[in-house]
């Protein structure tokens, strides 16, 4: 059975402001969700592209003297009001396109018809980090947390206590637009944002993700980010084999403290394309290093490595 997790990391400069988007999706697996690995890959793609569209069309034009100021008011409003609906619509369109190629005899699915979408069922975590704010969206299980400079940890989208024992909301559900939750918060100069599929959280004792975030942050502060990222593939492997027995994916955005090096990392870990010297993502699961603005990957085992990117700005919609 293929790994059903997927990951994307993208960065853009829009009207002089840098943004970084990362998404983690976890296909449900099991016989009823036999194309959920594709559903997860389409989810991180749809989320990245929807953020790209939002940032390019949602940000208000600014005067040159305000170029350094972040103008997220319009983006934030549109994110809260429309992102879930637009994301689900885009994901369904991609699913229908894939299904057409997969089985041309399959009847075209309507939005109300969930039978096709269920094959592709997946959760999704997505975050967009701007100079001052973070926009976070989530449907289904998984964890998003933010470690602040004062060492406190915020959970912008707390888990639903009523969803236990593997039950989760899904992009494949008819009311997915309503079930997509959003949060927006300001960040300081330093901090660490962590997105993890439920295979990571389920593998750790209570508070484990917070400890992980603090240890990575401390390593970054001491200049040992690359070393700790190099050990992530082994750590994630243990999470799966000794903890959750599930696919595991983690994406971290480190603000204001990273000093990425270019030395090689073992296959599976990555320090990805920071927009500026103070913004880095460490992530899994693996894929070949990509110098492009947006890298998606999917699959299990192994690691990947990349140094700071130098060509990751996008001037327009892909």
């Amino acid at each position: 059975m293929p790994c059903q997790d997927a990951l994307a990391v993208c960065s853009w400069s829009v009207a002089g402001t840098d943004y970084l988007v990362t998404a983690v999706a976890d296909g449900h697996g099991g016989a009823a969700y036999d194309r959920s690995h594709i559903g997860a890959a389409l989810a991180v793609r749809a989320a990245s592209e929807e953020f790209q569209a939002l940032l390019f069309f949602g940000a208000a034009p600014r005067a040159p003297e305000d170029a350094d100021a972040e103008d997220l008011a319009g983006v934030t409003r549109a994110f809260k009001a429309d992102f879930g609906r637009l994301l689900v619509r885009r994901w369904r369109r991609y699913v229908q396109e894939d299904a057409g190629a997969w089985n041309e005899s399959a009847p075209p699915a309507q939005d109300a018809d969930t039978s096709l979408f269920r094959h592709y069922g997946t959760t999704l975590l997505v975050a967009c980090v701007g100079p001052q704010s973070v926009l976070v969206g989530q449907i289904g299980d998984g964890d998003v947390l933010f470690l602040r400079a004062d060492d406190s940890v915020a959970q912008p989208l707390p888990a639903d206590d009523q969803k236990v024992g593997g039950e989760t909301d899904s992009l494949s559900m008819p009311d997915a637009p309503r079930l997509f939750r959003t949060a927006v918060f300001d960040h300081e100069e330093r901090g660490l944002l962590l997105l993890a599929s439920d295979g990571v959280g389920n593998a750790m004792r209570e508070g484990g993700l917070e400890k992980l975030a603090r240890s990575v942050s401390a390593s970054a502060l001491s200049g040992a980010l690359v070393q700790v990222v190099a050990s992530l593939p082994g750590f994630l492997e243990r999470c799966s084999s000794q903890g959750s027995g599930d696919d595991v994916t983690i994406s971290m955005v480190i603000l204001g403290q990273a000093k990425p090096a270019t030395e090689s990392l073992p296959a599976g870990a990555e320090v990805v394309a920071p927009l500026a010297e103070d913004r880095v993502v460490a992530a899994g699961p693996p894929a070949p290093a990509s110098p492009e603005a947006c890298s998606d990957n999917q699959g299990g085992g192994g690691s990947r490595a990349a140094g700071p990117a130098d060509g990751n700005q996008v001037d327009g919609l892909a």
Binding site: G29, V164, G166, P174, L212, A224, Q227, S231, F235, Q242
Partner: protein, 246 residues
């Protein structure tokens, strides 16, 4: 001296699977029935279950036992015991059949505040040879309270009726204990007519439910049917002589 390589922190731990035996210890269980239950649970927990989860090092089964006669109380608990340290204490029989009280005691432990959020769906196996002596309305409300709890609804709940024929125990009431999703899949009360069948079903139910629970995949809230996939029980050994029958 080389600098120490920093490692990501956060303690990795096996995922807990909470397992509850809910065992009738009323007077009618005295003799061969209770002796067989004691023997079979020991066999299952010391040999069959450890063997079944050997290839799932990420699973930690945590055992508890509830007994019920005139009232319900912990036979093993309320603190759960890891499977590798679990020993089933000898259970003796006597008194009436407070099944509703036993289900209420189980329900208190399946509360979201007491259950580990990252755990597998719990496994609950009810064994009884009789009719609940609590008021019928109490039994019904206990089942409804169990069904309302998120972990109660997600639990793998099976029932074994002990008796030579189905009139000896309350099949309808025991059937209500079975997970609603499993009932829809056609899983009913497992009838154990003799010692051999009782051992067979105790082992099958405990092993199959635990393995199925530990294989649970994420499932969208819209999905129909049981959250845990359980194959139908294999045929029980045939009764070969009248003297074998309970």
């Amino acid at each position: 001296m080389p600098a120490e390589t920093p490692l990501p922190e956060g303690e990795i731990a096996k995922r807990p699977l909470q397992f509850f035996w809910v065992v009738d210890s009323s007077g009618s269980m005295d003799g061969a029935k209770i002796a067989t239950v004691n023997h079979a649970i020991r066999e299952a927990t010391q040999r069959d279950l450890p063997g079944a989860v050997e290839n799932h090092p990420e699973v930690q089964i945590m055992m508890r036992g509830i007994k019920f006669s005139d009232s319900a109380s912990w036979h093993v608990g309320p603190d759960a015991v890891p499977l590798d340290k679990f020993l089933w204490p000898e259970l003796t029989a006597g008194g009436s059949t407070a099944t509703a009280q036993a289900i209420r005691l189980l329900t208190t432990e399946l509360n979201t505040e007491k259950m580990p959020r990252r755990g597998f769906p719990p496994v609950c196996i009810l064994l009884s040879d009789g009719y609940c002596t609590d008021p019928e309305s109490d039994y019904q409300s206990a089942i409804e309270a169990l069904d309302r709890l998120p972990w109660g609804a997600k639990a793998v709940r099976l029932a074994i009726g002990i008796g030579g024929d189905k009139s000896q125990y309350d099949e309808e009431s025991l059937g209500k204990f079975i997970s609603p999703g499993l009932r829809k899949e056609g899983i009913g009360v497992l009838q154990a007519s003799n010692a051999e069948q009782l051992v067979h079903y105790i082992k099958w139910a405990s092993v199959s439910a635990s393995v199925a629970s530990s294989m649970t995949k994420s499932k969208s809230g819209q999905a129909d049917g049981a959250n845990v996939l359980l194959d139908p029980p294999p045929p029980a050994p045939q009764v070969t002589g009248e003297t074998d029958v309970f």
